[in-house]
Symmetry: none
Subunit: 226 residues, 2 copies
Amino acid sequence: MKRRDARGLTKRQAEMFGFIKRYLRGNGYPPTIREMREAFGLRSNRGVIDHLRALERKGYIRRNARSSRAIELLIDAAGTENGTADGGMVRSYPVAGRIEAGMPAPPIEDIRGAMLIDRNLFGGEGDFLLEVAGDSMTGDHIIPGDLLVVKRTSTCENGAMIVAMVDGETTVKRFHRSGKRVILRPSNAAYVPIVLEGSDIRACTIVGTVIGVIRRDVARGVPFSC
Amino acid sequence: MKRRDARGLTKRQAEMFGFIKRYLRGNGYPPTIREMREAFGLRSNRGVIDHLRALERKGYIRRNARSSRAIELLIDAAGTENGTADGGMVRSYPVAGRIEAGMPAPPIEDIRGAMLIDRNLFGGEGDFLLEVAGDSMTGDHIIPGDLLVVKRTSTCENGAMIVAMVDGETTVKRFHRSGKRVILRPSNAAYVPIVLEGSDIRACTIVGTVIGVIRRDVARGVPFSC
DNA sequence: TTGATAACTAAACATATGTTTAGTATCATT
DNA sequence: AATGATACTAAACATATGTTTAGTTATCAA
């Protein structure tokens, strides 16, 4: 027999049970057998059914045979999944202090608060929000006051819009690497790109990539002039 | 129109919503359409579907179309939104179908779902979200794919950014009135303003004002070229 | 009176979804 | 070495379940 944990589940069964729990929390309803199959990279439904029957036999779930998604969790937090203290359909995004996109600015230390936003927006990703102060990224349709949804990463693809720390200052730019040179490009022709070479590159840290934008007070925004 | 309760639900819709809630609490997963049909003694699925669409349009539930039992409750009994331990911090915004900002487009009938967003964003206002398809408002830094936060109003201030129905088509423009003339102005020079005079003005209905913008998939956005 | 909306019936229709049968490979125990 | 359980693949198979089209009836507001 394969190895079981303290509660009588094998490793694989525990994984399956964990997946069902997480899916349920995120979606409000249980997964289908095919969804589980795909989540585990299996090629046949039968594998999933075997696991479900084992979980049912061991009292972890109850099923309504022949009925789609009819899985009921009987044992609750027994094996707490790592870290997911917050369940539900919304995520809490900390709001970092105002930064200058283009000008010297304070670091993103000061956390102003948090915003709850639907898990389904921004692909469920993003780690914090950052308010834009300067107008160096207007070419990308990002204007002062916008809240950027930032996902923490230490690397990024070429051309990605990133939040970076340069000489201890936070800035939003497009990232371009060509050979040994890194260019942080604003998208407003009125601003000059930051070119980093050699040891200067070490003075630049990628904080994260910009994956979303939230704009408030549009009504009060500057009207377009023709 | 039939009688509605304080939160905009008719008696029957409230009954249907209540049934879904009770079923979910009792079974751990949502009911199927046929189960609801039988519970209400109806003879056709269509009746249930109509109610589900109404509940979705009003932001009470979110559905995953074509997927069985895929109903997510967004608002709980008291009328406060789900998803957080301390309820009432988020609001449910119905998401209206894609529209063309500048070109002929389908009406905003098709409701795609709903999004939960912090009450403190957008000043707690806004009535629904609308996805932008055209690029007629890029001068205001609104680009295709953006979700507009729209507040329903039948009037607006001069220069406000509005969602309007013109000849049965939905459009996003800046509203300008001068004397007996109304001009709906795009903010992209490649588009022509819509000028309404005399009886034409009646063919134009203001749906609401744009008070916010949400942009997803920024990483994939078109990079700025200098 | 007219038009819009809500709330349904009726009958197909399309497919998402659970199930079965038959078999393989691995592991732990006896 | 034989046994039983786990953890799968492969291919049908059956049907549960959501959707559509085309109506009807009642109610309410303009």
